[in-house]
Every structure is written in C-alpha cells, then in structure tokens.
Symmetry: C2
Subunit: 492 residues, 2 copies
C-alpha cells in the first residue's frame, strides 16, 4: 500500500505524502524552489490549454516580457515597491570568473562584472509591461490592449509549501490597458468570471467570487477580485485574483493617450493571474487517503486499462482486445492508457493508478473477453460495474461526466455544510477556533476591526457581491445595518 | 508603404525593420532582453504546439525544473563551467530595503540578505536536472527518462540581435537518461531528425543535418548534432542541436543504476534544444522587401479577408457574405481573419497584411458577391486569381499547401545554388570572402586547421553524414583521401 498519512491524523503531512507518492513534485537543491515532475506538469498543461482557450475566446493574445526588472522600475510605484521588494531575487553581476584549475574549476563572482543597476527577477510584471505600453499607446485607437503572459515568477518566501507557496512558481498574468474606468472594471470582472467558470466547471471546485477588502487587496490596485475555495481542512485557499489597477501604473510610467475628444488622458489598467497553486488546490479539494483524485476534465489520463492474464497466450489476447477499445476511445477523445507491464501484478497496478488519481479503471481478463464486457471501477466512489463492450465509449464518456459532476457536488456539499451565517464577532472567533470553516457575516467594519481578526488567525477572504435579494443585517463589529456580507476564514 | 530597407541595401537593417514593422519584437528597458510582441509570440505558440506534439509522439513528457542553479553545480562539470560561467546572471541577494519615504521609495540591496551561495540564472539546465535524476534513478527499470522542459534561459551576451542572440530567450530543452551509449546515441540522432523534419516540413526551411566537429561541440558533450540552414545573405544559421552527453553529467552528479546484470553503472545522457531563434531563422529564410513571409503551417493567420464596400449597405452585405466563408474555413481548420475596420482603406490593409506575412489574402467586393467568387492574392508570388465560391475551402487548402511547398522549394533552390563543392583552402577563402555561401569540401583536418578558418570568419558548420554512395576525395588541408565532407560558412 502507498505510504500516505490519513487526513484525519495529519492533514499537512497527508498533503505532502500525496505529492510525493503520486510523483507530482519534489523540492530541489535550491531552497524553496520546486521541481514539477511529469505527473504534476501534465496537470498544469491541461490547466494551461483550457485557460488559454478561454483567454483567447475573450479576445486576449499572448506575449512575453523580460524576466528581469530594473530596480528603479519598482521605485516608480510606491505601494508596489513596498509590496514586493522585501522578498525578491536580486541579480547584481553578469559574470563569474574561474580561479581554479582546468580540471577543478572554482567560480567566484567577478567584481568587474557588477551591473550598473541591480535587476530584480520578476515577482509580477506590471512595471516592465507598463514601460512597454508607454511605447505602444498614443491614441484611443491603440486601446484596449488585451495581453496575457505565461511565465515563471520569483517571490522569496521564507516558509514554503509545494505548489501553494514556493520561491519560484509558474503562472499566467494578464495585463490589459483601457480607455475608461468602466472598461477596466468590466475587464477585471470578466476575468474573475473566467476563473470562477474554470474552477467550478473544470476543477470541480466550488468557489466564492467576490471583492477583497482594502486591507487585503493587491499592492497598487484600486479593486481586487478573488475566487476563494474551501479545502478539506476547512481552510480557505485564494485560487485566482483579478485587479482593476486604476491609473497608478499609467501615471508612474507616463502612459497617456489622445482620446476621441482630443484630450490627453492616462490609461486604465487591469491585471489578473492564476498559478501552479491551482494544483495544490486540486489536491486538497478532492483527494483522499488512497491518493490523488482528479476531475476527469483535468486528468492527464482519464481511463487506465489493466489487462489481466495468466499465460502469455492470454496476455496477447487481452492486449489485442484492449487495443481495439483504446482505438475506439481515442476516436472519442477519451485520454486512455494501458498498463501492460509484466513486472507488476494487477493488484499493485490498481493501487498505483488509484494513487495517481486516474478517474476510471477498466480491468479486462479472459473471462471478460468471453463475455464481451469490461470491469469498470470509479476512483471517486470505488463503485464497480460490468459494462458491455457494445457502446462502451458512450458509457465511459457519460461516466466521466458523472464523476466530474459528482466531485463538484461533493465538494460543494462539504463547503456548504461548513459555511455558517453568524451574528457576533464572538461567535466567529469560537467557530474559527473550534471546528472551523467559512463564517458568513454582515460586515461594515474598517481596517482596525479587520486587523483584529488576526488575533485568531482569520482574515476576510472576500466581500460577496450585493444581490438584490440579499437581506440586510447588523454588522458584527459596528452593529449598523448593512447589506455587505463577507466570508471570514483561516487561509493558506 | 512600410518603412523597410531593401535586403540588397542593408541586410541587417532589413531584418530589424521587418521585426519592427511586423510588430514581432522590441528591445526592452533591460539591456539585451527582448519583448516578444503578440505577432511574434503567436508564431512561437505554433512552433511550441507542433514540436510538443512531435516530442510526445516520440515518447517524451514535460516537466519543470528550477530557474536557479547553485554556483557549485557548475563547478562539478569542468567543461560546462568554462562554457557558461563567463556570461551569466548571478543572484547574490534575496531582499531589497527601502531607505526612502512612504511616497518616494528608494530601494537598496539589503546586505543582511546575502545568499550563502550565489545562484546562477540557468543558461541551460543539465546540472540542476542531473541533480534531480540522482534521486530518481536506482535501477535499470527507472530508465530511460525522457523529459523535455519549455523554459526561459539567460546568457549574458554582449552583442545581441533580436531573436538570434538575446540575453534572455525562450526554448525547449530535452534531457534524457539511458542505460547504454547506444540508447543515448539513438536518442540524440532521433531528436535531430525531429528537428530536421520540423525545419523542412513546417518552417519550409531546408537544412543540412550533421555532426559538429570537436572544436564546435557543446560544452560537456561527447557528440553534438546540428541542423544548419542558409539565410538569404548566404550565412549559416544553427537552428537546433542535439547532444550525446556521454556519462559526464552522471559522473559529476553520481547518477548510477543497477543494471540487469547486477552491476552498478553510470547513466548515459542526451540533451537537445531549439529556441526563439527559430523565429529569426523563419524571417531571414523567406521574407522579402515588402515584409514578413510566413509558411502556412506556422502562420498564426493563414488567410485574411478584406471586404470592400462603398456604402454601409454594401458593407453589411459583404461582411455577411464573408462570415459564411469564414465558418466554412474554420470547419476545415483554416486559420482565417477578417479585417473589417472602417478607419482604414483596403489598399492600406493589403500593405499591412503583406507586411505581417499572411500567406493568402482574399478580397471580396459587391461585384465578387454578384459573381459568387472571391479574389485571391498569394503573399509569396503576388499571383492573383478569381476563385468560385463553390468548393472554395478545398481550393484554399490546396493553395496553402502549394505555398508551403513552393516556399521550401524556393529556399532549397537558393541554398543549392549557393552551395559549391571546392577543392582547396584558397578556393574556400576566396568563395567565403567573395559572394559567400556554403562551401562543401572533403575535410580531415584537426583543431589547428579548423581554427585557421577564423582568419576569414568562417567555421565548419557540420560534418555531413557518411552515406554509402559518397565518393572519397582529398582533404583540402591535409591532402589525404577521406570520405568526410563538411560545410564551411560564415554563421550567425
């Protein structure tokens, strides 16, 4: 059996055990930097492919901007500088020199190769991108600019956790430029909706979509929007953010345009991003004590076929039987893999593929062949069925859809059962320090009241959107009537 | 008209003009680092998509390794250290501190945040990857490892040129681990063949595929294989390399496996890569004085439709006519775009899309509608045709195939016309210093003779593969009979 600590025993160990045993990632020789192994990277490739399609469908194009940002660029936007300068990788030299021998080199920093200005390895790219937009924008005709970048970024975190918080991570960052506040606001909200759709429909992960408070918003933003998901330990995970950046970056980098009315105006900005953190969210949302559980729409392998044989003759027969099934599956774009390795027993393979989170396992032995059937086992429920060969691809497709749906429903039921409406700050504290979960409360407090939540390690995760049907209630800290509702929780 | 210097006047200015006017890339605020603009990046996305498919079809998977490499890792492989240490970005600190005010930050390197060991921004990833393989390989069962990485790398070049040589560039690097020399050699050759196929069948760019000489091979390699293309100025461009790395990295990082015979052995390595340099190759291979020329298989937009109208009524009618064509094209996976902008005249649009290299332009006006036809103009030849609406998508598909084929043939004819077999070193020098091109010669020389070629700025680009039908001839420097033929040329 796989070496996985049960969730109930040690949640955080369980998480790392899954990552190790399912071969998703490793720590590297460089402190805080991870290696994303092929099993983990294949999930990221699916995330990229799907999100990239959604970005393009909403009119965006991709581009690539430099890894390095001159130190002075950070100084131009004060809040941004304060937000990122404390944890960044600084390049100071452009050469090493060898003071060793031909066979045993000894490299030292060459003092003659000091850079005139230090370069920061990008923690995010607003500054370098807005310095380019300065060159590209003159007239209202040049707007909007709807650009996305897939890239690596570095934030020198002291306490790291694989996928959730690492010194280097992979992400996408959208950076758009607009004529008006309204256009930028609409873009920020549109991209939040793309993230919500992706989280719920592809990751099968229910989220609350809302706005960050003043205290929690991005360094340099006017508004920050967020999607927040509940993990199985009832903590919140911020899974994606979208910012209306106002005109701050345009002012810092002097990006103006001549509008239709002939006047010069500063450009409005947004940025939005999700990262390899989503893989951490995926693990913590669905997996169990047997290993990873992947929603079919993101699973690199959706169906694994385990042929069962006693003799070589039987082996050849079941593999040839399976090959015909594989062809039919591939024609239907079902991602299928056969595990015909001779050095492992079927039981070992069952455990292995459960561990790696493949949604559906098919077992095929000589008896199944004779009956023109296959045995199917669902990863999420363990449910076993005997499925006739005829029309099998249709049944498998709908089973995968069922698994996708039921993972979402299970996660939503869990989240809803652990989201409670509370009336007082004392209740919130008791709830958070007790079983934990999402506290949904009326809130009209300011920065001081919000900072108080830190005394019990909670934060406001988001302000829920005001809907017409929302009742008003008394703010749990000020007592005044408000229609503002927020989610309070502990968070990753 | 676009502002492009003719090739004959100033080839190198022509190249940069194309990049600027077709909006492919820009220099950034960081010395030597480029911004790949959406038009350029869309070409890279097509390159990535196609190559990634070819890598997967040959059994490879993707993964991601850290951006940073500890300095000591370079010291472990002496040749590698010497090859890369002289031009690398060195991270020495992990924090800046703000010595300014709240509104005017002034950031300085925090001396308390000095790293215990300097980190190098990867110029290539052999060392960090082999330190990981050390953890992953114990038995022959763990081999081969067939991993590829898509990543950014940094080499601090002093003289840069957009796409061809920049401080940061994007690439893919395959890193594989094998049981035997033969397996590694077969892999290196297989991947060279993938590159050759990609260059010729997708980029429409003929290449010589061969081996590098001892003097020209990769720092740390046993054998380096290369594909070499001829640009329109008759210089060679190295477009992709594949290395049999022998056991050097395995020895440096102590990566051993227990073989089937029970003995411990060092693992054999390969690496292989192509980069955004391919975009530079694409430009210089096919483009002309009107702008970019793209082969249809890599063109982000294959067909552009320019509707022509006088009244708003006509405008609505031609756009609706065009929309039906677009739907039919998309059903056939033809990448099509309509340019219905009202603020530009058709003539301006023709020039613009020629500049951006779209292989085929369709013009549709009211008269064409009445005749149930479209006007088609080929980017490569300027040839104009009237095509009936019926069966149009089939004709367009085959025209695109023709363009692809004829670009290859034109480039091959040009290369072959400028590749000459020569008998003496003096002839080679005269040829290189005169009209220039590829000198194909018998060669049996050593390092000294090879270094002599530098006196007229030439290098041996590759040793051609020995084929049974190859004659022997006298080496141009030693005079001895040999079957070794090499290509000598000036190179980028």
């Amino acid at each position: 059996m796989a070496n996985i600590t049960p969730r109930t025993k040690d949640y955080s160990k369980w998480y790392l055990d899954i990552i190790r045993e399912a071969k998703l990632a490793d720590y590297s020789a460089v402190k805080g930097c991870m290696i994303i192994r092929p099993n983990g990277y294949a999930i990221w490739e699916n995330i990229q492919r799907i999100l990239d399609g959604m970005f393009k469908d909403t009119g965006h194009v991709n581009a690539y901007f430099p890894l390095f940002i001159p130190k002075s660029f950070f100084e131009k936007e004060a809040k941004h500088a304060k937000g990122f300068a404390k944890e960044c990788a600084v390049v100071t030299h452009h050469r090493l020199k060898d003071v060793g021998t031909d066979t045993e080199p000894a490299l030292v920093v060459d003092p003659d190769a000091k850079l005139p200005e230090e370069l920061i390895v990008r923690p995010t790219s607003e500054t370098i991108i807005w310095s380019a937009y300065k060159q590209w924008v003159q007239s209202w005709r040049d707007l909007p600019i709807l650009i996305n970048q897939w890239a690596n970024v570095v934030r020198w975190e002291m306490r790291t956790r694989l996928f959730l918080r690492t010194a280097e991570f992979l992400w996408q960052e959208g950076h758009t430029a607009h004529r008006t506040f309204e256009d930028a606001e609409a873009e920020a909200v549109r991209m939040l909706e793309v993230y919500r759709t992706f989280a719920e429909e592809y990751m099968a992960m229910p989220v609350f979509a809302g706005k960050k408070t003043e205290g929690q918003k991005f360094a340099g933003a006017l508004h920050t929007y967020t999607i927040e998901a509940m993990m199985q330990d009832k903590k919140a995970l911020q899974a994606g953010t979208s910012h209306n950046l106002g005109q701050g970056f345009a002012e810092s980098f002097d990006v103006k345009f001549r509008d239709q009315d002939g006047t010069e105006k500063f450009v409005w900005a947004t940025s939005w991003g999700v990262s390899t953190r989503l893989i951490g969210a995926l693990i913590m949302c669905h997996s169990d004590d047997k290993g990873l559980v992947l929603p079919p729409r993101l699973a690199p392998v959706q169906v694994t076929i385990i042929p069962i044989w006693k003799s070589q003759e039987e082996r050849r027969a079941v593999i040839s039987y399976a090959d015909k099934i594989i062809t039919r599956f591939r024609d239907q774009s079902i991602r299928v893999k056969i595990d015909a390795r001779e050095e492992y027993q079927p039981g070992w393979k069952f455990t292995e593929w459960e561990l790696e989170g493949v949604p559906l396992r098919l077992e095929i032995g000589p008896r199944d062949m004779a009956k023109e059937q296959v045995v199917s086992v669902r990863r999420d429920t363990g449910e076993k069925s005997f499925l006739p060969l005829e029309g099998l691809e249709g049944v498998i497709k709908s089973t995968l859809q069922n698994i996708q749906k039921s993972l979402f429903e299970r996660a939503k039921a869990y989240r809803d059962a652990n989201t409670v409406c509370l009336k007082t700050l004392a209740e919130v504290q008791e709830f958070i320090e007790g079983d934990g979960g999402f506290a949904r409360v009326f809130w009209n407090g300011g920065k001081t009241e919000e900072e108080h939540l830190a005394t019990f390690n909670a934060t406001i995760r988001c302000v829920l959107p005001n809907r017409e049907d929302t009742n008003t209630g008394k703010c749990i800290v000020t007592g005044v009537d408000t229609s503002n509702q927020v989610i309070i929780a502990k968070a990753y």
